[in-house]
Subunit: 341 residues, 2 copies
């Protein structure tokens, strides 16, 4: 049996071929009743519109890629929760890729032409890339970068003010009277550009309060995850002079650190106060709940999608813009304690 054609569908549904095409392409001007008739005919005939042929003709795939280091990091999962519906609302599918933060994989993604026609543009949260790698990317790829980078003028960048946010988190601990404040999550250059902004904010808060920084309290971790937070906390608690507070560079790190503190029979925040970063849902249900820096994820997600679609739709390359989303500090039990206040 030959495959059903658009004309077959039109005939069975009793509408014009143009109307079938409108339904298939998702144009809004079709009435609900007509749409249903056409869809019934499509189902009955097993008709498959040739999406690839259509994309080939108009040079678009109707897909955007969202590339994150780790999909099982709740921050990215929560961001995707806002990115996917926004993209879908605007008629785009989302293709998701994860890089494991591997610099080679990340470089390949922004350079290699091989994938270009599979997606029309990319929202990218790099981890392993240095700024110069980004500067070296394909200038023809519509690109929006998330996280702690700077636009070089060929792509858009959406993020929060990480230095200010980290300064506020550290100042919150200083304001509670803590004086031996550790930092968990620093990373060396170049992978660690994100982490280094947080360390900078941590240093600035100390300087503003006239406090010295004990360099031995700044702990490097390969990733921002629970295991690394727990491992770093173990090192800190094994010292003769443990800290009385910790600024953790992500909520996952804070949750790992919290677990280690409680396993040792110490109290949070009485013995050690903890603050995280990201405001993931898990930190609102942990025991105690986690104080954190809350980035405006919905604004980050919707702005990233809207900027990307603007770049995709523009006949000329648009100049890159820096978009700064809001953040706020949310103090919970891990710094304020459980007592009602």
């Amino acid at each position: 049996m030959r495959d059903a054609t658009l004309r077959d569908v039109a005939e069975l549904a009793g509408v014009s071929a143009r109307t079938v095409s409108n339904v298939v392409n998702g144009y809004a001007k079709v009435t609900e009743r007509t749409r249903e008739k056409v869809e019934r005919a499509i189902a009955e005939l097993g008709y498959r519109p040739n999406v690839l042929a259509r994309n080939l003709a108009n040079g678009r795939s109707g897909q955007i890629a969202v590339v994150v280091p780790y999909l099982d990091t709740p921050y990215f999962a929560e961001l995707l929760q806002a990115i996917i519906p926004r993209a879908r609302e605007r008629g785009y599918n989302v293709l998701i890729d994860q890089t494991d933060g591997d610099p080679a994989h990340e470089r390949e993604l922004i350079r290699r032409g091989a994938r270009a026609l599979l997606f029309d543009g990319m929202i990218f949260s790099p981890l392993g890339l240095a700024q110069e790698d980004l500067d070296d990317g394909d200038p023809a790829l519509p690109l929006v970068v998330l996280g702690e980078r700077t636009s070089n003028g060929t792509f858009d960048h959406v993020g929060i003010d990480d230095v200010a946010a980290s300064r506020e988190a550290t100042a919150h601990l200083i304001g509670l009277g803590r004086r031996r404040i550790a930092a968990i999550g620093d990373q060396p250059y170049p992978t660690g550009e994100a982490a280094q902004l947080r360390t900078l904010g941590y240093r600035q808060a100390h300087a503003e309060a006239g406090l010295p920084v004990d360099e031995s309290l700044i702990i490097h971790t390969p990733r921002f995850n629970r295991a690394d937070g727990s491992g770093a906390m173990r090192l800190l608690l094994d010292r003769a002079d443990p800290p009385d507070a910790v600024f953790c560079y992500s909520d996952l790190v804070a949750l790992g650190a919290l677990h280690e503190v409680l396993e040792r029979g110490l109290r949070v925040p009485e013995d050690i106060a903890l603050i995280g970063y990201d405001d993931i849902e898990e930190g609102r249900y942990s025991n105690p709940t986690i104080s954190t820096i809350s980035p405006d994820k919905v604004t980050i997600a919707t702005t990233a999608v809207d900027r990307l679609l603007a770049r995709i739709g523009s006949p000329e390359p648009l100049p890159g813009v820096e978009v700064r989303a809001e953040h706020k500090l949310i103090a919970r039990q891990s710094t304020l304690g459980r007592a009602p206040r």
Copy 2:
């Protein structure tokens, strides 16, 4: 300037057009040195192989879709962690979609031909669909279904034995001497087919131990998330006769319930023992850690990908198979307590 062609790349790299084609298509027989030469030439010329044209020619998109109800559910995020590398290893990109468990959206996905050429097959974790909806799906779509469904012979199904696992979880609580065991997560038909298997296991464990089931201890929740777990626990603790243990239908539900118990100043497991389901990483770091049913996620993920690619590659439709992955009960602090044993 005209776009670079495959021939331009071959000339610049000093290799044959066939070799460029081999590199672009990712064939393994190219030496690393040749691959690098070709990739350098591709980058230099800004060459974009016409992926869509190639897909059009062979009728494949090189993409598989993975469709889950919620991306911010750690169980699915962890499963994707294993699905994506497996698919990539076998030369496929993964397109991810989330349905929010909406039955209409889910039905559309397995019926609508409009998306067919965007992906070659689908790994689908339905939530809102009844079994008969699945039976009604497009038989030409290569499909692997995850979760608590049964193959009707036109698709593969990969899951664990949910009834047995739920029976074991409940029996674990009974074995610890608990007698008023609540269940959080039951859902009505048809959405609740997954949940109903767990309730069945819960009932079987009671029957096997010769214990009656108190129907009022079976709590319905719209979703398997933290908020619903916490809300259900609130209802249970507000009763004159609260339970002494709870079987939660997911770890997220258990983590929400745990939060509510501890907020009230009660102890886990002394006052209330808790067991979850899924073995997500969060339950290994919570305080206390969560006892759980651990499905073999790696086997589920790799089997799903392998079965799907077999279906995609087969010239004739393959008969649907049922694949049952292993599970095990992992007892942690939320049932055994913190004391070293």
